[in-house]
Amino acid sequence: MGKKRRGPSLEELLARPWCYYCERDFDDLKILTLHQKAKHFKCERCGRRLNTAGGLSVHMSQVHKEQLTEIENALPNRAGLDYEIFGMEGIPDDVLQAHHQRVATQFQQAEVERQVATGNPPAGGSSGGPAAKKPKLEPVSDLKKRLAEHRAKRADGAAGGSSGEATPVGAGLTPSASTPGTISYCTCAWSIAIAYSNPFTAIHLYRTLCSTWSPPPVAPYQQIASPGFPPFSPTGIQPGPGSMGYNATGYSPQPFSGPPGYGAPSPAYPSQQSTPTENTPPRPGSLPIPSGLPQRPAFAAPPVNAQQMQQMHMGHPMAQPPVPSYSNGDAARATPPIQSVNDTPGATNDVTEKPVDGTEKPSKKDKAKPTRMIYSDQTVSPEEKMAQIPRYAFSRDRFTQETVLGEIPDATVTGTIRDQDTVVDPAH
């Protein structure tokens, strides 16, 4: 039996044409240009398809006497008319770089994910056990429940002096890592990493993690920078020179304690997303990452005790001591649901401002972006504020007395108001 080819290679992925405005990628440059004409360069008045944003702008101003200000259906930061894009031409270098990096990261994620799903080791290692081969569907609630259990166990384990503290959490991310389901930390990091590629789970996990889980000290974890959904990274999980994860000190509690799932204005931590897509040059931590490949975690051999070592290599649990209690069996079960969520690709890139279901679940577009509200008073409405301006002030007492005092402007009424006929017809 010949070797089965499994999907495109990284090079092939990087070579795919993609749309600057919405980050979708296409099989063919021709299809890309067709997409751009249909989605981004189509006149909303008459439906005419133009070749470029400039063309559309000229068309709008000449034919409809309107000014084009933004590209339709574009990602929020890409809606500008600053660049003349045609197909793949005209994309600014930094955006291109960011895209490549993103593709590469996603590729790696997929790789890791595939390993977890199939149980195949990256390169000729021992088998991960048959349990993981069949992805089972499992609701997110169960997943969360188990995560909570695991956390509790982990806390016990830490108290019991396990070697967990020093284990690199992101170890599972590197393809060169040992078999899936090595020890508790690896699998855990895996599930997080994988979950991040899906917005919903990501946020769920993110929130649960942030609220209850104190992040481990060493955590080389490279996040995916998806433009439709900027990644979150729990404290400490994102290191590396090219990124700028926020750290615990910079995380200020949110002012309102509403329903947790609701997309609140996120605290001000910068996201990787906003960085590459904005085209202003001076950016902290911008992207001179050489090959566009994610950062490899520094992989110092963790102090692993014999018990764990055995687990790592056997791929199945033995007689369990109570301390590192998150067994491989658990790990195997932990992966399938994530896999299943991942099978339904999030449509984050499709429409920019379409209403998103934000009441029940967190909005996928909640950006880790500082926001400034134009009006932020929670108790006094703008009208009440305006009513306090002296110009609009009205004192009922003055009028009920039906006397006119000196300071009342001339425009107000003298005498009885009820009888006044104030009809003004400009026609006469």
Partner: protein, 360 residues
């Protein structure tokens, strides 16, 4: 191709507070209330019946800024509410003004229910006044006063329901029939100042975390949309069943990214449902008006930015016109409003312009 949008001649001289189309099917009459203490009555058609720049029919001066206006039984009867604490009825034919109820603070909203013949006004004194029009409006028939837990900021009604959005994110939905009945009874047994405790049909907390700015009910009497000062709109359904409640959602809009990467969030000042298609328009402090399809959860279109904040939007009864009241508001922090910035734009909508695209 001529532009399908025009501005009305002789607009108010100060910020617009409300703007309403006549409820009569083919009418193009508009009333506009303004902070310049006047209520303006326009018709989009000029003397020759051409829809061009419209004309000002009448103007009624009040003692204080007018905060809301609505049409009554027909398009020759309007009700106004303002900072002078009064709710007035104005007969456009005779220009006669009658005060129908007086609050103890500025009156923010007034609505009229043609089905139940009641005028409901909401004031910052945290009360609703409900006045009946079919009792032969005599001056001594006092309105029923319904206490509210908070200041009402926006009210909207359908044929059967009244939605009152208040401060502290509270929201009450009243059954109009019950409300009309109870207030009618209170009229006859007029004791302690006509105060009636009416239990709302539903009490809700706003799905939005920030102050509610506007509510608007769906034309199909099935639900409502509400907007907040924090660039967000929520769509919800009246039906209290879990299935219907699971359908509710909220989305972000009316935001702009400034040069330094900060997301500037504008309040959503106005919402209006299209009477035919059931889609809705939102107007924000950023001067943008967008049309949304609440069912398929998609944006239908977004219009070119207007020069300043959108204070009010409304569709005509036929759904053919969309009027947009634009005036610089508190967003700019200006005390003075320069000449010529307050404008009323009217957009003539093509047949399918406000129609949803359908589910993807």
């Amino acid at each position: 191709m001529a532009s399908n949008q025009f501005t009305l001649a002789s607009p108010p001289t100060d910020a617009i507070s409300a703007l309403k189309f006549s409820p009569e099917p083919d009418s193009t009459r508009i009333v506009v209330s303004s902070w310049d203490k006047n209520v303006y009555v326009y018709d989009l058609r000029d003397e020759n019946g051409q829809v061009g720049e419209g004309k000002l029919l009448q103007k009624f001066e009040h003692r204080a800024p007018v905060l809301d206006v609505c049409f009554g039984e027909n398009e020759n009867e309007i009700y106004t509410a303002g900072l002078d604490w009064d709710v007035r009825k104005i007969d456009l034919n005779t220009s006669q003004q009658t005060v129908i109820s007086s609050h103890e603070a500025g009156v923010r909203n007034v609505v009229y229910s043609p089905e139940h013949k009641v005028i409901i006004s909401g004031s910052w004194d945290s009360t609703l006044h409900v006045s009946r029009t079919d009792t032969g409006t005599t001056t001594d028939s006092l309105p029923a006063v319904i206490p509210l837990p908070s200041k009402p900021f926006s009210i909207s009604l359908t044929a059967t329901k009244l939605v009152v959005a208040m401060a502290s994110r509270a929201l009450h939905i009243y059954d109009l029939k019950a409300l009309a009945l109870l207030t009618a009874q209170s009229d006859s047994t007029s004791t302690n100042g006509n105060r009636v405790e009416v239990e709302p049909w539903q009490r809700r907390e706003s799905s939005l975390k920030f102050m509610t700015r506007c509510v608007a009910c769906m034309p199909g009497d099935t639900g409502y949309a509400s907007s907040s000062i924090e660039g967000r709109v929520a769509v919800e359904w009246f039906d209290p069943s879990p299935e219907s409640q699971a359908r509710k959602y909220a989305f972000k809009c009316h935001r702009q990214t400034s040069d330094d990467g900060v997301d500037v969030v504008y309040p959503v000042n106005a919402l209006a449902f299209h009477p035919v298609h059931g889609s809705f328009a939102s107007g924000g402090g950023d001067g943008v008006v967008a049309l949304w399809d609440g069912i398929s959860k998609r944006r239908i279109r977004q219009y070119q930015k207007y020069p300043s904040s959108v204070a009010a939007v409304d569709f005509s009864a036929s759904g053919k016109y969309l009027a947009i009241g634009v005036s610089p508001g508190f967003e700019d922090g200006k005390d003075d409003i320069p000449e010529g910035v307050v404008k009323i734009y009217v957009r003539e909508l093509s047949e399918t312009e406000a129609k949803g695209k359908g589910a993807k």
